[in-house]
Amino acid sequence: MLSIKNLHVSVEETTPILHGLSLDVPAGEVHAVMGPNGAGKSTLSYTIAGREGYEVTDGSILLDGEDLLALSADQRAAKGVFLSFQYPLEIPGVPALTFIRTALNAQRKARGELEVPAPEFLKKVRAAAASLKMDFDMLRRGLNVGFSGGEKKRMEILQMAMLEPRLLILDETDSGLDIDALRIVAEGVNAMRAPDRSMLVITHYQRLLDYIKPDKVHVLAKGRIVASGGPELALTLEKEGYDRIVAEAA
């Protein structure tokens, strides 16, 4: 599904942040990328999603064999890439419902599919909101405007559920969530697990992985993957911290 080879990324043409990062996430698997602050976690997620200003100086990112780096952010989304933001933006004046419908229809158009009929869209979005315990009236207000941290993360999961991406990238999805919100968000994510869908869970803490069980855990430090293992690796990191494993890899 996702194949990243020898990725080198600089931001603002000066600071190299990722140096030779390689990572494979097969279809149907959930991989966690853990790392200390400044390791390059957000750079990795922004680079996969196609944010401008993140310059790839070497390496490749393929999604089912297709070169993502040749595509703009919106084209990547239409191919099935979805980034759940660590800090979702507030968009005043654009109701969430309008936003999600615009996005869904833009993606469908890019894929040569017909627009979703309004009644079908509304039915689906109502059901998705209910399962995330979101008040439907929130969807009529400006996107994320005045929402709490937990509400914003639920809105991300709602968008994910509506857009049905093939590759989910969760960037620090647990930050700013209390335990109840974390459980609801994790349930939303787990409901999306599917044989033809892959997930990359990017997190500093092991806590989120109690709720979203990864198949594999990778440690990102100083711009590279320095260790990979099963779910037990996350527990080791939680106990021992990042210092030893990063030092060993150096």
Partner: protein
């Protein structure tokens, strides 16, 4: 209340220049350097214009002339919806016209005022006065849709009796020089005032929205002005609120926010509050900025292409002004009209 400049197109000595403080960013004399020849007589336009879909009575000027040849209209509007149209078909010539509007006690009126032309380097000079009697209410919605090489000035003075309500929304798309100016004296005594504006400019268009509000009694004023500017266009916002001695309890809020979509576009803003009374609540805010890159990326990361994402953000930005139009049928015309303009700008 500081009086507006009285431009007489026949007399160059009345043409303001940038040395006149109120015209420092809109140098009229630079673009009109000699007296304007009178615009030709043309046939009265078919009734309608941009607000044709709304049932209304109508007063239409054709090159500054009413059907009977007069250049001044005296209107008493005692209810309902009225269209006031200034239609120009002229080149290298000009017109000046006057309108005096009286809204009697307790009457409630919507005025749909439009500046229309299919093209030409004309000079237009409209002077309007509004007089609202006790408890009268007027919502004035202005669309200025003029050619890129025209010069157009519209100046209004507004007088309000106790309990009157005056609400204004001006939408300007600029011209070589387009200026919409409103002078209003707010006597307090239950009077409510809303003074909104919106400008959408591309090419090398210039629009100037100037308001001068004078509070002589307490009372409420709300002002929201927004604009989107691209190309080498230039917008001017001058908003002055003066609170005179004795106008205690005044509550006035003014906002001006502009989006610059190109490096060569320019916005000159001068919000001014002068307060000489006590127990006054006044606030003003003023921002000029570009579209937020992060918001743009967020929208694009959901699959919306760049141009559509920009349209979505700019429409959301200006939508707030359109949403404040109280008369729904007009709002439903102005909304799509603005959206169409924005698509051309982005």
């Amino acid at each position: 209340m500081s009086a507006p400049f009285r431009i007489d197109l026949r007399d160059v000595s009345t043409f303001p220049t940038r040395r006149d403080e109120a015209w420092r960013w809109s140098d009229f004399r630079r673009v009109v350097s000699s007296p304007a020849a009178p615009a030709p007589e043309i046939a009265a336009p078919e009734p309608g214009g941009p607000f044709a879909a709304i049932e209304a009575s109508e007063t239409a000027f054709a090159n500054g002339r009413l059907p009977d040849g007069d250049a001044t209209a005296y209107l008493t509007l005692d209810g309902g919806v009225h269209r006031l149209r200034f239609v120009t078909q002229a080149d290298a010539s000009g017109w000046q016209a006057g309108v005096r509007i009286l809204v009697p006690d307790g009457a409630s009126v919507v005025l749909l005022e439009t500046y229309e032309s299919s093209g030409g380097a004309y000079v237009a000079n409209a002077a309007l006065t509004f007089h609202l009697e006790d408890g009268a209410s007027l919502e004035r919605i202005v669309l200025m849709d003029e050619p890129a090489d025209a010069v157009s000035v519209s100046t209004a003075t507004v007088e309000l009796k106790p309990g009157a309500r005056f609400a204004q929304t001006v939408v300007a798309t600029g011209a070589r020089l387009q200026r919409h100016e409103t002078h209003l004296e707010h006597p307090g005594q239950g009077v409510e005032v809303r003074m909104d504006g919106l400008y959408l400019l591309d090419g090398s268009r210039h629009a100037d929205l100037t308001t001068v509000l004078t509070h002589t009694g307490g009372g409420e004023t709300r002002q929201m002005c927004k604009g989107v500017v691209t190309g080498q266009a230039r917008a001017v916002f001058q908003g002055k609120i003066e609170v005179r001695p004795g106008a205690d309890g005044t509550d006035a809020r003014m906002r001006h926010d502009a989006l610059l979509l190109s490096d060569r576009a320019e916005v000159d803003a001068k919000p001014e509050l002068e307060i000489y009374a006590d127990d006054v609540q006044c606030a003003h805010g003023n921002t000029v900025g570009a579209l937020d890159d992060e918001a743009l990326f967020y929208i694009r990361s959901r699959g919306v292409p760049e141009v559509e994402a920009k349209i979505l953000l700019t429409q959301a930005f200006v939508g707030e002004v359109v949403d404040r139009i109280g008369f729904e049928p007009a709002r439903e015309i102005v909304g799509p009209w603005v959206a169409q303009r924005l698509e051309a700008l982005v």
